[in-house]
């Protein structure tokens, strides 16, 4: 189960609104490499994960991603708080405004609503861990790209924190992959799928 803590993982306090920045940071809320997708990917992959270390890593990282989703939502809220419809239009958010006013809706920077089509649960340990490693790198690049457009230290600081966490998660998934291959058939990692094949069907 999950229990809510009434605090952010890392503080966000943006003093100056900037709807143009919100328009691009939005992608980390509901975009293809965003925090919602990250969370759903790991928290869904874990059910068929075969080894205790892997279940723990997927659960703990998937949970932290929910905290990141809240941080990104907070950044978007504070960047658009008190902004007029005219200013939103000037920032290119008039179409967003028509559908959501100043509410925080999960969509990509391009406007495409959040879709689980950008994530995968393959049910195969090696395939899923490689997906997770790639996902962390893609999220890291998205934050790097966002930082190219940021000149407000109030925004740069929490975005840098989130970027750094992608690198730490990548490290943990790399270790999870090592744990996994240590337990597989060293002559052929693909000899069986430990998430699906029953132990008696395995060659060793």
């Amino acid at each position: 189960m999950f229990v809510y803590e009434k605090k952010l993982q890392y503080p966000v306090n943006i003093r100056r609104p900037n709807p143009a920045l919100a328009k691009i940071i939005m992608s980390q809320y509901g975009g293809p490499d965003g925090e919602l997708g990250a969370s759903l990917r790991y928290l869904s992959q874990r059910y068929t994960a075969p080894y205790p270390e892997i279940k723990a890593v997927l659960t703990d990282i998937g949970t932290e991603e929910l905290g990141h989703l809240e941080m990104v939502g907070t950044i978007l809220y504070q960047l658009t708080k008190g902004v007029s419809a005219k200013e939103l239009k000037e920032a290119g958010l008039d179409q967003y405004f028509v559908d959501h006013t100043a509410g925080i809706y999960p969509a990509a920077a391009s406007g495409t609503p959040y879709t689980a089509a950008a994530l995968q649960v393959k049910g195969d340990l090696l395939a899923d861990l490689h997906e997770d490693l790639a996902a962390e790198q893609k999220a890291r690049v998205t934050y790097d790209n966002i930082l190219r457009f940021c000149d407000d230290p109030d925004v740069i600081d929490p975005i840098r924190f989130l970027r750094e966490r992608e690198i730490v998660h990548y490290q943990r998934f790399g270790e999870a992959l090592r744990v996994a291959t240590d337990k597989l058939d060293s002559r052929n990692f693909y000899a069986f799928n430990p998430e699906f094949d029953p132990p008696k069907a395995r060659s060793n």
């Binding site: 809510y4 605090k7 952010l8 270790e175 090592r178």
Partner: protein, 82 residues
């Protein structure tokens, strides 16, 4: 930064250290020095959490006698501009 924000920042820093170590231990369960450091951070976090909650209200729902303090502003996404 007011007193509440200062204390929350301190609590979050210690809590983050504990969280990061705990996740490291998922893949390094035999690392006893990391496990020991985690225990120390957890103890410190518990102490700071108790002090924070006494002064500024609950961080989780369902604490005895705290229903008004639980719903009270500020929520985590609120800042001085709300």
């Amino acid at each position: 930064m007011n007193e509440r924000e200062k204390m929350l920042r301190q609590l979050s820093a210690v809590g983050f250290s504990a969280h990061d170590l705990q996740m490291y231990l998922d893949t390094h369960p035999n690392d006893t020095s990391a496990a020991k450091a985690l225990e120390e951070y957890e103890r410190e976090e518990g102490r700071l959490r108790e002090e924070y909650e006494q002064r500024f209200g609950p961080l989780t729902a369902g604490c005895e006698g705290s229903r008004w303090a639980w719903i009270a502003d500020p929520w985590p996404w609120n800042n001085g501009r709300d």
